[in-house]
Symmetry: C2
Subunit: 314 residues, 2 copies
C-alpha cells in the first residue's frame, strides 16, 4: 500500500505563520465558466467551501445579468446560503451603486469593488476613462462605508495589460493609492493576464510599501496562465503578504481547452502552505472532494494539479 | 491589437545571473509517454531543442527495451543527430554496464546514472537493495570516468516515496554523498512524486551544503504532480542552484488524463527566468513551436500552461 500523499511539513524562514485564503471560485470562477450552474448548486458550493475551512468565500457578483448571465441569480444565491460555520466572511462583488443596493437588500455585509490599473482596460471593460471609473468606485465605496460595510478593492492589470503591455509600477501605485484613499479596507492586486514573475511581484510590493501601502492591507490575486501563480505567491509571502486569492479547483478558465486564464487553484496553494507549515484552517481532503463534486456538475475535469492527483488516489 | 505576451524583466535580489536548463524531454519525457515515437521524430526533436538554445539535451536511455520499449531505438537516435549547434551537451542515461557499453559504441561522451534515495524504490525499481544498487552504480561511474566521460547522478525520491512517505534529509544526504564519492560530477535531486514544497527544498539544500555538497554541484528535478515545481525551483534558485531539469512541453505524464506525474515544463521555467532576468540562452518562441510540433505527433495538447497560452495566440 502506498503512503498517504501529504507534503512533509518543513517551514521556511521569513514566512507568515498564517495565511487567509480569499476563495473566489463561486464568483470569479463561475463567472468565467461557460456553463450556467443552477442556483442551488451555487449555494451548496459556497457552503461546502466554508465548511472545508475557507474563512472567506466570495459568494457572487451583483453585476447586470446582461454582462454576466452566469451570475444572474446573485440575490437568490445569497438567500439560499445555510449550514454555514460561525464567523465565515461572505463578500459579494458590486460593480456600481445599483449592485450595492441589490447586495444590501440581500443581506451582504462585505462588498468588493473592481477597478483597473490601466486606462485601456478601464475603457474596454468599464466603458469609462480610468479617472471616471475611479470616481464611480469612490461613490460606491463611500456609500458602502456609510453603511458600515467592509470594502475590498480589486485592482486589475497590476502587472501586464493585453493592450498596453507591461504596466509601470508607479501607475499601479497611483491607482492603489486612490482606492486606499477612497476607503477600501483591503486591496487585491490582480495579475489578470497571468504574466507576472516573482521579481515583478517583489518590486510592486516594495513600491506600494514605499507609498505607505504595507502588506497588511494587501492581498494578491494571481492567474496561472503561464504557470507562474504559485511561484508569485511564494514571492508575495516572502514580502509579508498574508491574504491570497484562489479559486477552488482552479475554476475560471480551463487551461487545456483553448482558454488559459485560470485562477490559482486553491488546492495547489493549500498544498504548498501545508508543506511550509503556514496555517490556513483548510481541510484539503474536504476541499478536493468539493472541487471534484463541482467538476462533475460542470462536466469537465478540474485543471488543478493537486485535485487531479488526489482525486486519482481515491 | 493586443501586446506581444512576454514577461516584464524585473530581476530579484539574490538569484544567479544565469541558469543552465538540463532538458529531459526526449528521455524522461518520452519514456513516460504511452505513444512510441518514430526514431526520426525523436532525433529531430533533440535537434530542434538544441537549436532553440537548450545547451544540454538528454537524448535517450540505453535501458533494456523490455523495460522501456519507448526508447528501444536509443542507439539509432544517437546516430541520426545532425544539424546541432556547436558545443551542445548530449548526455544519455545508462542504467548499467551493458548500457554504458552501448552508449560508448554510439558515441556518447556524457552519461547519467540513476539511483534511489530510498530502500523501497531501489527494491521496486531496480530489484536490488539500496546498497547493492549503489555498488552497481559505482561500477558504472568508475568505468565511465575511466573513459573520460562526464557523469551525472540522478537521485530519485529525494522528498517523498510512495511507499515510505516523507524521506528524512539525512537519508538523502547519505545517498547523495555516496554518488559524489563514487565520482559523479553532478547530482540531480529528484522529486519523483512531486510532493516537495519550498521549505523542504531549502532544508535539503542546507543539509547537503553542510555535508560539503554545494549548489555548484547540484541540479534540481521537480515534478508538477501537485503544481509545486516552479515554486520549488524558485526556492532552489534562492539557494544558489544554477542547474534546473525541465521537460519541453511538460512531456512525461499528462496531468489531465489520469496521470499527474509530469515534469516541470521547460516553457513555464523559461517564462519565469526571463521575467527574473536570469539568462538561459533559450528562444521561447522556438521552444514553444517545438513543443506544439511534438504535441501534434503525440496526438494530444501539451500540459504546459505557457505552451497552451502562447500557442493559442499564434
Amino acid at each position: 500500500m502506498t503512503h498517504s500523499p501529504l507534503p512533509m511539513r518543513v517551514p521556511a524562514a521569513g514566512l507568515p505563520p498564517r495565511v487567509r485564503i480569499h476563495e473566489v471560485g463561486p464568483r470569479d470562477g463561475l463567472q468565467n465558466e461557460k456553463a450556467i450552474v443552477p442556483t442551488d448548486v451555487k449555494a451548496d458550493f459556497v457552503c461546502r467551501l466554508a465548511n472545508a475551512g475557507l474563512s472567506t468565500v466570495e459568494v457572487t457578483s451583483f453585476v447586470h445579468p446582461k454582462w454576466v448571465p452566469q451570475l444572474a441569480d446573485a440575490g437568490e444565491v445569497c438567500l439560499r446560503l445555510d449550514d454555514l460555520p460561525a464567523g465565515v466572511r461572505l463578500p459579494v462583488l458590486v460593480p456600481n451603486i445599483r449592485g450595492l443596493e441589490r447586495a444590501t437588500a440581500h443581506g451582504a455585509r462585505r462588498v468588493a469593488i473592481a477597478a483597473s490599473a490601466t486606462e485601456t482596460f478601464a475603457r474596454r471593460n468599464l466603458n469609462r476613462t480610468l479617472d471616471e471609473s475611479l470616481a464611480m468606485s469612490a461613490e460606491v465605496v463611500a456609500q458602502a462605508k456609510g453603511q458600515g460595510m467592509h470594502v475590498r478593492g480589486y485592482l486589475s492589470m497590476c502587472f501586464g495589460d493585453p493592450w498596453e503591455g507591461p504596466v509601470p509600477l508607479e501607475q499601479v501605485v497611483r491607482t492603489a493609492r486612490a482606492l486606499a484613499d477612497m476607503g477600501c479596507d483591503e486591496l487585491s492586486l490582480g495579475d489578470t493576464i497571468g504574466v507576472a514573475t516573482p521579481g515583478h511581484v517583489s518590486a510592486l510590493l516594495d513600491a506600494l510599501a514605499a507609498d505607505g501601502l504595507g502588506a497588511d492591507r494587501l492581498g494578491v490575486h494571481f492567474h496561472d496562465t503561464y504557470g507562474q501563480a504559485l511561484a508569485n505567491t511564494l514571492a508575495a509571502l516572502q514580502h509579508g503578504v498574508t491574504t491570497v486569492d484562489a479559486s477552488a479547483g482552479g475554476l475560471g478558465g480551463c487551461p487545456f481547452a483553448g482558454s488559459a486564464t485560470g485562477n490559482l487553484a486553491t488546492e495547489d496553494l493549500v498544498w504548498m502552505l501545508q508543506g511550509l507549515g503556514v496555517e490556513t484552517g483548510v481541510d484539503l481532503d474536504a476541499l478536493v472532494a468539493t472541487s471534484v463534486w463541482m467538476a462533475e456538475r460542470l462536466g469537465r475535469p478540474s485543471p488543478s494539479r493537486t485535485v487531479t492527483a488526489l482525486a486519482r488516489k481515491e
